[in-house]
Amino acid sequence: MSRAEPRAGQPGPPPAGDATGGRTDTGADAGVVAGPATGPAAGPVAVRAPRPGWTLGLFRSELVTVFRRRRTQALFAVLAGVPLLVGIAVRIETRNGGSLGGGGRGDGGPAFIEQVSNNGLFLTFAGLAATLPFFLPMAVGVVAGDSIAGEANAGTLRYLLVAPAGRTRLLVAKYVSVLAFCLAATLVAAVSALIVGFALFPVGDVTTLSGTSISLSAGMARALLIALLVAASLVGIGALGLFISTLTDSGIGAMATTVGLLITVQIVDSFPQLHVVQPYLFTHYWLSFADILRDPVSWTGIGKNLGLQALYAAVFGSAAWARFTSRDITA
């Protein structure tokens, strides 16, 4: 959990005195090199007009911080392992040509599980359907919940703010790194499922949910679209986690609250009696990614899902901003 090592890549003071602003690709290095040449008097000016390069450097450093962590890599390993386990289980179950679950409706397992033994590509969909309800949002909750509170807990937040990054920019950088993690985590699960599916099962033309057939390449394109939709489904809980993270100085507390909230919302979403509130829960339209596999594709649920995620991002993102820019940083 040492923040010192990853923070080594953190840019130094901004190259404010450098009149040739606009270098965008040199980010952190430019800062370090140009830093000493900058007169101390230029400092306050730099705060008001940071260069794009400096902002990019901040994002890059945040990304490196997130992805270099052992914890992140462990989460990736879990996400890659779930499709592997599902694939092996289905393979063993259907080894002798038998069908899954005695041929009944697949009410027990994740969606698409019945199709996996006939077409390995469906393991991608089944893997995402299996990880989306819990594993993926849990991983996002851990990363998002830790983003601010973890820094505060480790005592590094004040140092981050000493570097004249600006609180808003730091918050945006944190959220962007969370979003990048959403995408990366989804792709890890999807690619793992794709490899396992192609290795263990026959692959061919894809039968849509509506019974029509599309070619394998079209099916792969839809799989990519589904992965992107699943990643977008995590935007809401990312913003929620970021907001919770700004409320506390305890990284563990923020993670636990975010994941606890996720479970609560999932439970509320499963009670038919609470149907009035369910359309407003960020988990409610998560499975809408399956609509991509219909023929014709039904965009209604997908649109609702994306709109809801954008709404959560806007509400909790701005709430995080309101909280983070107005509170005292004591740690």
């Binding site: 009944g104 033994s117 359907a129 600006g166 019974g211 029509t212 038919p272 709404l311 806007a314 940083i329």
Partner: protein
């Protein structure tokens, strides 16, 4: 260590004076949430609201318009809501929590049947809200898909072939339709329940002929189309539970777009079927082709040759051409009587069939749900819902109708004499 004060490096120039500014920042998320809430509640209300001004029309003209409507080609999304007021144990409401396909209102089916068989699937339309995709191109090619959570159940009729594919179990059902069945298919898609507003309107207007008052109602917008309203109120029917039926008819094409059945007792509509999106251009031909994918288990339904064939299919029941049930009374007060020997279910009414199947399996459930009654016919159990009532006597006769419970017991008493 002095705390680092907020907003020192922030983009804003105005130095804040403590609390007021902090509070002001929280106005942003609140405002975003407020605007979103307002948008969510107002936009759908605006989209399908208003009463478009259409040239006035008489009932006769409107009925002629409906009769003349060409609905050969249709491609749309249908929403069906059925609220019979049944306890949730019966309808099996509730969904799987962690990503499993929701099993809302799944019909019991017959023992050992393929999960892809239409008989075991279409009964689920009798409870809850379902979204269907309906496509048709002429009398020979129709497709109905029940959109479920991450799954879909499709019935595809193409010429002599009837396919059904259930993506949740990845199983298919196939049946070759005999010639006479094809001839009497009309444009009715192979479904057990009136799955489209056209079907529902056709059945209702047929039943309403001479037994109900039909009036023109206010205009409305349905699925983005201007529509005339039509209200059917049963008349000369004392015991029916049907209050009124509202039909929205597309002003341009005369196609019924929405049918709403309100029970006599008032309250929420008991049955509501309407397009949420519809186009009257022919769907692509690939919609109606189905080739069983490799590895998919296909259950052959066998080819039927008329009524003496094996199991009666939903088409028989709902087309009203199945001669099996005796009908007592006329019009809205009519009661279907089904004698059910030795557990072979051949009920005309899907609801009754569902009750009966359940009743065989779950005696305790029947006792908690049904109400025991006695009369000249002996003893029996009355099953009550907001629209359809059923009486199952202990000697195996089932009385079903959209009539009051006392009408059922009266009919049973009369039959016992």
């Amino acid at each position: 260590m002095a705390p680092i004060q907020p907003a020192r490096y922030d983009d804003e120039d105005v130095p804040g004076s403590g609390r007021g500014r902090r509070a002001a920042r929280y106005a942003v998320p609140v405002a975003v949430a407020g605007v979103a809430a307002a948008t969510i509640s107002l936009v759908p209300a605006l989209a399908d609201s208003g009463n478009p001004s259409l040239p006035s029309i008489t009932v006769e003209q409107l009925l002629t318009k409906i009769a003349a409507s060409h609905t050969d080609a249709v491609d749309g999304t249908v929403k069906i809501t059925t609220d019979l007021g049944l306890p949730s144990q019966i309808t099996g409401a509730g969904g799987a929590m962690f990503g499993g396909p929701a099993s809302v209102g799944r019909g019991p089916g017959r023992g050992g049947d393929s999960p892809a068989a239409p008989q075991s699937q279409l009964t689920q339309l009798l409870a809850g809200t379902h979204t269907l995709h309906v496509a048709a191109d002429g009398p020979d090619r129709q497709k109905i898909s029940i959109l479920e959570s991450a799954a879909e159940y499709s019935v595809i009729h193409n010429g002599a072939q009837l396919w059904a594919y259930d993506s949740a179990s990845d199983q298919a059902y196939h049946q070759t339709l005999p010639q006479d069945a094809r001839d009497r298919q009309d444009t009715q898609p192979p479904g057990g329940v009136p799955a489209t507003p056209q079907d529902a309107a056709r059945q209702i207007l047929k039943a309403a002929d001479g037994t109900a008052s039909i009036t023109v109602d206010r205009t409305a917008r349905v699925a983005g189309h201007d529509a005339y309203g039509l209200v059917v109120t049963p008349q000369h029917a004392d015991t029916t539970t049907v209050g009124s039926i509202h039909i929205a008819v597309d002003a341009r094409t005369g196609v019924p777009l929405k049918v709403t059945v309100t029970p006599r007792g008032g309250g929420k509509p008991v049955f509501d079927v309407g397009y949420t999106k519809v186009s009257f251009s022919a769907p692509s031909a690939s919609t109606f082709t189905f080739t069983a994918p490799k590895g998919v288990k296909v259950t052959e339904g066998g080819s039927r040759t008329g009524h003496e064939g094996t199991a009666p299919t939903p088409q028989d029941h709902m087309n009203g051409k199945d001669a099996q049930p005796t009908v007592l009374g006329k019009g809205w007060d009519s009661i279907a009587v089904v004698t059910t020997p030795a557990g072979v279910s051949s009920g005309s009414d899907q609801a009754g069939k569902q009750f009966k199947d359940r009743a065989h399996g779950a005696q305790s459930l029947m006792n908690s749900f049904g109400k025991p009654v006695t009369g000249a016919f002996g003893t029996g159990t009355v099953f009550h819902s907001r629209l359809v009532n059923a009486l199952l006597t202990d000697n195996g006769t089932l009385y079903v109708g959209a009539v009051t419970q006392s009408a059922l017991t009266d009919a049973a008493n009369a039959a016992a004499k």
